[in-house]
Each structure stands twice: as structure tokens, then as C-alpha cells.
Symmetry: C3
Subunit: 337 residues, 3 copies
């Protein structure tokens, strides 16, 4: 059931980013996820694939949503799950990230899923550990499983990624979701437009192979899908409300805007949605929205990722028991903050 017809085999012990993955590797994850999606529809939604192995959720930023998605995915694979959050962890006692992670590795666990506000945190763990490392979001760098579930949903809805036009709207500059989506979509042959007020578009973003516009109508005009990023207005609470109104006026997705389009566009959002800021409630709950399907697909995609890295690492540790973690992963060192 978990056999895939793709000719490439998965060889990485970690999933750190989409930047360093090949098109074939991304397609292998998506194909593996497809076979796992069926498990969640069964009466007994569980397979013994990774029974007797242990996953640690090591979360330095609070994120119920992502933590719970990984926890459910892991339990469906029969993994044992240990949650460690920064509030309760040894971080308080001044221990370094690497010391914490090495201590976790010494417990002979199999996978560490890490979320950290430092761009590159997952790569640092990867280089220092033999255990599998899965990046659940590092700073502004990447959030690869979010992009993979976005792509899985696109493919499920539209049959393909190649040739699609996907617009990403919102705070591109500070979004790891945007970065991972851009790497993945471009590799798989989609046309990507990013759309935001100028101040939220990073310099030289065109070098990633995307088009840029400040106009939402332009971004939507012939897009097959729009991925709407979460805005973080809560940080400057003083003038948050007028800014939110202004943002919604210029960049909020509304039914009026969607009605003007010639295509039947798909609306995505990584959640949690700010209703009335990034999009109207009518859009969030309407027929264009696939937001809850993204959440459902997150389970299948994360099951696939956990399964692939665990299998690869078992193979690696049998054949090269003393190899260092990072040496097996060409391209890993290219990761930028």
C-alpha cells in the first residue's frame, strides 16, 4: 500500500526544507501521502508501520495546530509520541538547543520534530544528530510540511501542479510558509505570483522565480489558486484596528473580488484565519475555500514524511552505522536563514 511507482527512492534521514529537495523527491512525498490518506478514512485509522519507534515534538514556539497534526499523524503510524514545549523544558535552565537535542537523541528516540524561532535550527540539529529531524517551522526560513500539504491539496483538487498559476498573498517577507511554497511550486513547474504591499515583499524575491505585484486584483486575475497568509497584527496592538481595516480593504479576499474572476479559483490559508482581515467569513466558509481540506491533508502528508525519513534512517544506520548525520544530505548546507 505504501509502495510508490516513482522511480526515485527516498534517501534522506531528515526533512529540513524544500529548497534542497529535487522535483522527484517532492513528488515521492506527495505520492506516499496519497496512499496514507486512505488510512484516515478507515474504521481503524491506524497502521503498524512505525510501531515501537518514538517521536519527540520539540516545540520552542507555541503551535497547537502543527503539534497536534504531527501527533495525530505519528499515532496513526503507531509511533509513541513525547511532547516537549519550551515552557516546560530545560531551556529555562539555560541549556543550549544542541545539548537539549543530544539529550533527546540519547533516549534512543527515532524522530525529532522541531519548531524554533531561529532560522536554521532544524539544519543545526540535522548536522549534529543521527536521529531523524523534521522541520516544523524555523524562523522566517521554511515550513516544508505546510507547503507540502498545500501542494497535495492543489494536486488533489486540480490534478496537477505543473502549469498552475498560484498567487501567494500577504506578509511574504516574514513568512516561512511563503518561502517553502515558492521553492516547492517552482520546482514542480507552477507559475507563482507573490502579492503584498511593497514593505512586505523581500528584496530580490524575483530570483526565486516568482512574479511580484502590489495589486490583489492582478494577482487573482488568472490564478488557479490563491494561498492567503496569516497577518500578525497582534504585535502592534496600539494601531492594530485601523491597519487591519486598511489591509482588508486592499488585500482581503471577498466574494465580490472572486465573483469578478473568469476562473473558479481555489482559496487556501495555513490557519488560523483572521476573519475580516485576510478574507471575509463568506469566503473562508464558501465554496472556493479548501482550508479544512488542507488540515485533513496535513495528516496524510506528515504521515508520509515521518514514514520516509524513518525508513531511510533505518537503512542508513544499518549500512553506515558510524556516518555523521549531515554528510548524507547533499545540499543541506546551502540552507539560508
Amino acid at each position: 500500500m505504501r509502495k510508490s511507482n516513482t522511480s526515485v527512492a527516498w534517501k534522506r534521514k531528515d526533512l529540513l526544507d524544500l529548497e534542497s529537495l529535487s522535483r522527484e523527491e517532492i513528488e515521492l512525498i506527495l505520492a506516499t501521502a496519497e496512499s496514507f490518506k486512505e488510512v484516515s478514512r478507515r474504521e481503524i485509522k491506524k497502521v503498524p508501520a512505525l510501531r515501537g519507534k518514538t517521536l519527540v515534538n520539540l516545540f520552542y514556539e507555541p503551535s497547537t495546530r502543527t503539534r497536534v497534526s504531527f501527533e495525530v499523524a505519528a499515532k496513526r503510524l503507531s509511533l509513541d509520541v513525547i511532547n516537549i514545549t519550551s515552557e516546560s523544558s530545560s531551556v529555562k535552565k539555560g541549556e543550549t538547543l544542541i545539548d537539549t537535542a543530544k539529550n533527546i537523541e540519547a533516549l534512543k528516540v527515532d524522530i525529532i520534530v522541531v519548531r524554533h524561532n531561529y532560522s536554521g535550527a532544524a539544519a543545526i540539529l540535522s548536522r549534529n544528530l543521527h536521529v531523524s529531524v523534521v522541520n516544523a517551522g524555523d524562523g522566517w526560513h521554511e515550513h516544508p510540511t505546510q507547503a507540502l500539504l498545500d501542494m497535495f491539496t492543489l494536486k488533489e483538487k486540480l490534478g496537477t501542479i505543473s502549469g498552475l498559476h498560484v498567487s501567494i498573498v500577504g506578509d511574504i517577507a516574514h513568512s516561512r510558509v511563503a518561502r517553502s511554497n515558492i521553492w516547492g511550486l517552482v520546482k514542480l513547474g507552477a507559475k507563482v505570483t507573490v502579492c503584498a504591499p511593497k514593505i512586505l515583499i523581500p528584496a530580490a524575491i524575483e530570483q526565486m522565480g516568482v512574479s511580484v505585484t502590489e495589486s490583489l486584483d492582478e494577482a487573482l486575475r488568472d490564478a488557479d489558486a490563491v494561498n492567503v497568509l496569516r497577518m500578525q497584527f497582534e504585535r502592534d496592538s496600539q494601531d492594530a484596528f485601523p491597519k487591519q481595516l486598511e489591509y482588508f480593504k486592499n488585500y482581503g479576499i471577498t466574494e465580490e473580488r472572486l465573483a469578478k474572476l473568469s476562473k473558479n479559483i481555489i482559496v487556501m490559508h495555513p490557519g488560523p484565519i483572521n476573519r475580516g482581515i485576510e478574507m471575509s467569513s463568506a469566503v473562508a466558509d464558501g465554496t472556493h475555500s479548501v482550508i479544512l481540506e488542507q488540515v485533513t491533508n496535513g495528516i496524510a502528508v506528515r504521515m508520509a514524511v515521518l514514514f520516509l525519513v524513518a525508513q531511510a534512517n533505518e537503512y542508513i544506520s544499518k549500512t553506515q552505522p558510524h556516518a555523521a548525520g549531515s554528510s548524507k544530505q547533499p545540499g543541506e548546507r546551502k540552507i539560508a536563514g
Copy 2:
């Protein structure tokens, strides 16, 4: 083993309250709990009944006691359990309760156990979700599994509920435990007296079918059991101590009071007890007290509830795959805040 002789079958995907349940439905839960009680006495205290299904504890109010009871009950049914507490949840990010719950549902979990300070929170989830919803306490409204375990304990000790005289002592006005007990006990044919200083008795409480008294001695006089509610003096810390002394003098259960009674009364408490406020330590630990047995019975009762709603929901989703959650539950809309 989990077959019951009761003629009624359980058809609800949710347990929201006792107000909308029939006498037969309550009796079915109690009979099912009886067969589950035996599981906790085995060497391997676990049955595969709900293996491969997932329960989410969604707690917006802290409650180790209730959360842990549901968690143990769930694991004894082989459910996978995910804990989400408000401290760590997306609530902080301003997401609505419904959005949070719909996201959890999209993970294809099977049961959400919800505790929330808003009366009606569980009913809102029920109307919006296909997943099973179990109310673990909503505002001042209801706490149905607490009342069910209280009734289970009464029946175990005294053989029946019908015809018993049960007094409930304490802050009736703000107690979901009192409300659920009143609905359940009256339906099963018990005589119920509520007892408190006038200010803690809600207007028109007699309409629920109970007697009212301000005198503890009167409430105890011919009662078979007294259910003593927790007092929440910690909220007004300024003058908490004199108030506590005064309360204990007038409403505290003491061995002296119990010794005066002609019947061998049962003393219950939902916990945690304030020793020396609601009752003396001698009573809490004495022969009248069944407080720890209530805790034990909570496991069996919650196993029964989880089992029944999960079974019913599986049947519903097979036979009416597109039905909305609430339409299957007559009476549900009657729930008052």
C-alpha cells in the same frame, strides 16, 4: 460484555447534558458503565473497543481531575488521546471556538471532549460538527458525566435511584454539577432537596422539581445521600477566611451533624474538597464518604459515554453520511445557558 438488557438503544452522537436525555437513556449509560467497571479490575485494564480512533481533550478551563479521568477512560478503550489546553492553544491567536473545533474535526478525530467557561459551548460544537462532542463542563450549565458518576455511585451503594432522597448542599446558583444532578436524579425518580444560603439559590429553582431549604439540618434529616458542592472562596481573597468559617459553621458537614441522623447517610463531593470548609476531614475520610469511589466510578461512566457516542456516530455516518450533526438530536436545541 458490553451488551445491555435495556430496551432502548443509544442513538446520539453527543453527550451534551442530562436535561435532554430520557430516563431510559440515562439508565442505558449506567448499565453500560457497570459492564465497563469490571475492566479496571483486570490485570490488563484495557479493551480494544475503540482502537484506531482518536479523542481530543479540548480544555479551555484548567481541570486536571476531569481531563485525566477522560484520558484514563479513553486509553482503557484503546483510544489515542490528544490534549489541548487553552494555555497552549490557538485561542491566543484569536481564533473562534468553532474554527478551532472545525480544525480539530478536519484531523479526522472521533471524539472531542470539551470544557469551556461559556454555557452552551458544547451544544454549539455539536450543531457545527459531525464528530462526537462530550461536554466536560460548560459554564454554569451542565457537567453531565459528573452527575452520571454521582448517580452510578448512588445506585451501586443503595441499589436504586428511584425513591431516594438526595440533598445537594452549596453554591447551587453557580454549579453545573448541581444542575446536571437535578436533571438526572429527578428523571430517575429521586426526591431532590437543594440547600444553601438564600443568595446561592437561583430564582425559580423549584420549577426543576426540587425542594429548597436554607437549613442544613433539615436537608440532612431524612436524606439518603448528600452531595456537597465545592465552594469557590478563593475568588474574593480579601475576606475569604471569615466567610469560610461562617460557611463551615452553617453548612459544613461534621460528624456531630451526621451522628444526629437516624439514617446512615452517604456523603458525596465532586472534588477537590476544601477540608474544614465544606466538610470536616473526619467526614471526608470517614465511613459515610464515598468520595474516592466516585472518582473510581468516573472511569467506568466515562468509558460508557465514550463508547456509546462513538458507536452511535459510526452508525450515523454510515447510514446518513451527509446529515448535519444537530438534526439527529431532538431536544438539543432546548439547552439553556
Copy 3:
């Protein structure tokens, strides 16, 4: 596989300390741990030994490290695990430790692992509960599983404990790790030296059978191993930095100091390390250090302890169903705060 050749059988329902254990009992734990160590090397790192039983981690002090180690150990034995931390617990509602623990026992769980800042907390639970109690650190009193994993590591590295010279360096006065190590090592025939500035050495420590020195060089001179305690400078943040520098100068383990020794000394630390305070990074990560092996061995040792107490308690409850917890444990009452 879990059979041991040791002639003594384990009869205690609890593990509270090493003070009251015999040499044979300690050796039985270490021998049992040896057979469990192999489990963590398997592809499926799990045995059904305690399936259907439940362990509660009841932690009144934050300790990710110890909590996670017990959680992993428990899951490898197929125990269900419930975590209760003081932040979320009924403690806030003013409940006593005994009431909290009796409520947990009433859930029909099998083992309570307790960490508490009160010396004697585990012994109090043991006397009041039939459920097994494992001390995960109580005040300044004892931390028996830490000492057992230290001894397991010593034996693994050096083949024996008897005849070894082990020095313990750091805040002896306030260290439950030191106390448990001293009891265990002396019972097993090791020579123990404690080393610290005078103010950190408790009065009359020699009565425990150890030598005392203020000189680190003297403590290291002919030691086979040095166990370096964590310093808690964070509590007096005002002048923490100069104190740390001073401490490192006098008591920090450096490669220079180790190079002067004639023996190949083993360096241990219960973690988390303060690099540059208790030892240099070069030592922590160097060839003398067995710090991460200690973490790995913690799993095997805790599996052994959980297995032994659960087995003994099952036997006790079958043969003496109404016996009180403490009466079965000679020596238990000797435990000092």
C-alpha cells in the same frame, strides 16, 4: 529475558530511596536494567511487559529531562502514561498532596512517579497509597533512579562498582543526586569522596562513609570517576557571573586538570550541564565524558524499576489485598528529610 540470576527477589511496591535498599536489591535493579538495555537497540523498541497498566507522572517541580525519561521508559514497557504537572494541577485549587495522590490512585492506575520539592514527599505517598510510588526526586533528600543510572554506567564502563573510587564534586549540601549516589556507592563497596567549598558540604557527612576534601585536585587524584553536580547560580542573579567564574577556577573540570591525572578518569554529570561553570565544553564533549551514555542508561534503569515495582505490587495485592502500603516495606520509615 527479564529473568535475573540474582538470588534476591524484589518485594517492594515502591522505590523511594537507596538508603533503605540492601546491596542485593540494588544489584537486582542493575541486573534487570542490563536485560532491558537491549530493548532500546531493537527495531521495535517495545515489550508488552506492563501492557494495560497506567503510569502517572506527577511533577510538582518542572523537569522535562526526568519526566521524558520516565515517559519513554514506560512506553517501552507498553504502559499508558498520564502527565500531571503542578502548573495544570489541582494544587492551584489548594488540594493537599495526599488528596491529589489518593484521587489519582482512585483512577486505578498502577504507578505514580512523583517529583516534589518537599523531602519525604514520596515516602508520604507510599505510606498512604496501595499504588506503586517511584521517587523522581524529593527536595534535598534523594533521587534514586539518577544514582542507579550513574551506577549502571560506572559498572558498564569499569566492570564493577566494588573497589572503585568515585568523587562527587559540587553542591553536596543541597543535592539529592549526591545523597542517593553516596548511599548506593557505599553499599556496593565503592570509596566515595565528596568535594566542594566548605559552605556546600553538610555537617557530619562523614557519617555516611565518605571522605571530604575542599581540593578538586585531591578529589580527582586517584579517582576512577568524578560525578559533577549541577550548580544553581541562577537563583542569585545579582552576582551570579563573578561567582561562576570563581567556581569554575576552583572546581571546574578542565582538560588541563584531567591531563595531570595518572588514571583515565570517567566524567559524569546528571545534566543539564552549565558549560564553563562545572566543566569546560571540551570535557563535556570529550573522551572522558559518559554524560550522554548516562541519559541512554536512564531508560534501561527506569524500565527495570518500573517493571520490578509493578510486578511486586501485583503479587502483594493478590496475596495481601487489604494490607496497607507501608507495612510491607521494612526500613521505609527510617527515611530522613
